[in-house]
Symmetry: C2
Subunit: 256 residues, 2 copies
């Protein structure tokens, strides 16, 4: 499995900015919880769970690299994103995880070891996507991609758990200013669904009647019908007036 990694690294490294990487926290909303896309690197006995990421090519804008990585993972082209942090401690590398693997002990060669112990500065982006519309695909030398609820992700490699935490905080901060939800929900949704999303981002409950009023008063959504799904009383269906956004603009303000 080293061959796969080395082949990828070697093919990319020479055309890329040396110690710089982009990492993407791709968030989706599913079953009343925020989920994040993670990839798996298998090193024989050891499995590293990591965020989608990669190098930035010499002639590639930083943002373009991020979009490329998100597209590789999700297939999506125009996404809502935000550059929310840079992780740049001198000790940042996969070295610790790597040297724990059995593979390392037996057959690691210098090239692989060097790469896994290389220091990276990572520019981190947040991307919001519609969970229901995405088929995940593993990229690069990864051998698996999956959604993980953001609450249960202690086991990510390196400092990637911290990156996700930081992303969620950033999202929470932006919440009141932006139609974030329009990118995390299907095009048609009910108000209780929207409320569950907002609550999961903010991490607290909101009074239902008050939530309705506030959201409706912003004028960002319109009623478009009634829910057909067979539960209890059917909920009204809504849609965002202006569709998907690709930038975080302070357009509506509804501070909770």
């Amino acid at each position: 499995m080293f061959d796969k990694i080395l082949r990828y690294v070697e093919s990319v490294e020479k055309e890329a900015i040396p110690q710089l990487s982009v990492n993407c926290v791709i968030l989706g909303f599913h079953e009343k919880a925020l989920h994040v896309v993670v990839n798996r690197i298998s090193l024989d006995s050891v499995h590293l769970m990591v965020l989608p990421g990669g190098y930035v090519y010499q002639k590639e804008d930083l943002v373009v690299a991020m979009e490329r990585i998100v597209k590789e993972s999700t297939g999506l082209e125009k996404i809502l994103f935000k550059q929310f942090a840079v992780f740049g401690k001198a000790s940042r590398s996969f070295n610790r995880e790597f040297t724990k693997s059995r593979v390392f002990k037996s057959k690691a060669d210098k090239g692989v070891l060097d790469w896994f112990s290389k220091r990276f500065v990572s520019v981190c982006y947040l991307a919001l996507v519609d969970y229901s519309k995405i088929e995940l695909r593993p990229t690069q030398f990864m051998d698996g991609a999956q959604w993980l609820p953001v609450n249960k992700l202690k086991e990510l490699a390196m400092d990637h758990s911290d990156i996700v935490k930081s992303a969620c905080e950033s999202l929470r901060k932006e919440m009141p200013y932006t139609p974030i939800a329009s990118n995390l929900l299907p095009s048609k949704f009910t108000l209780p669904e929207l409320q569950a999303l907002v609550e999961s981002i903010l991490g607290r409950q909101i009074d239902r009647p008050n939530f309705r009023r506030k959201i409706l008063k912003t004028g960002m959504i319109t009623k478009i019908g009634s829910d057909t799904s067979n539960k209890r009383r059917p909920a009204d269906l809504y849609a965002f007036k202006h569709g998907r956004k690709t930038s975080l603009i302070e357009e509506y303000r509804f501070g909770f």
Copy 2:
């Protein structure tokens, strides 16, 4: 003057992350206006005005690099800072400015040209300092450091004007949540002074009585005496309760 630049670059480049730089937007408050620290690079006829910045050493945390750069420019050690943006377009270099200089046409050698046309990804930090306590000093290969009002800085090199603009926006966003002012004012100040600062950050006027009430209600400042300066009616003197902060924590909330 190339010698100076080349000597610096060569001495630093081999121990640093290749195409990564840190830039600092060091802000101070003076005469009712925000000012930013800029350095001057003289290339014979052409003068480049740039933000303080530099490489990140291989064994140096990103934040430490930033602190080093701020200290070089201002002498300050513990400052309030924030990483607010990354500038990473593929076209980002000093090439355009450099090739305009007369020096380039006459005596530029390949080494210098290479360096000036190198692509950099710049991690940008905002630093808030007390204008009155600082003696600026030119750093690295710069030959002058000065304060410039943030309103009049079209003439900065590369995209550094955009960086400052972005910094000011970020500051404006953080304003309502943080005791930012404590780092931009002397330890003793009057409410009108504080109001002038807040107004200059937000870019709009605030009703004086309402400003007083809001600030006082947060409990972040205490009255400590009366102003002695000889103008009209003496203003009350205040001080921040908890002194200088070195991190932006959501501690007080007073949304204007």
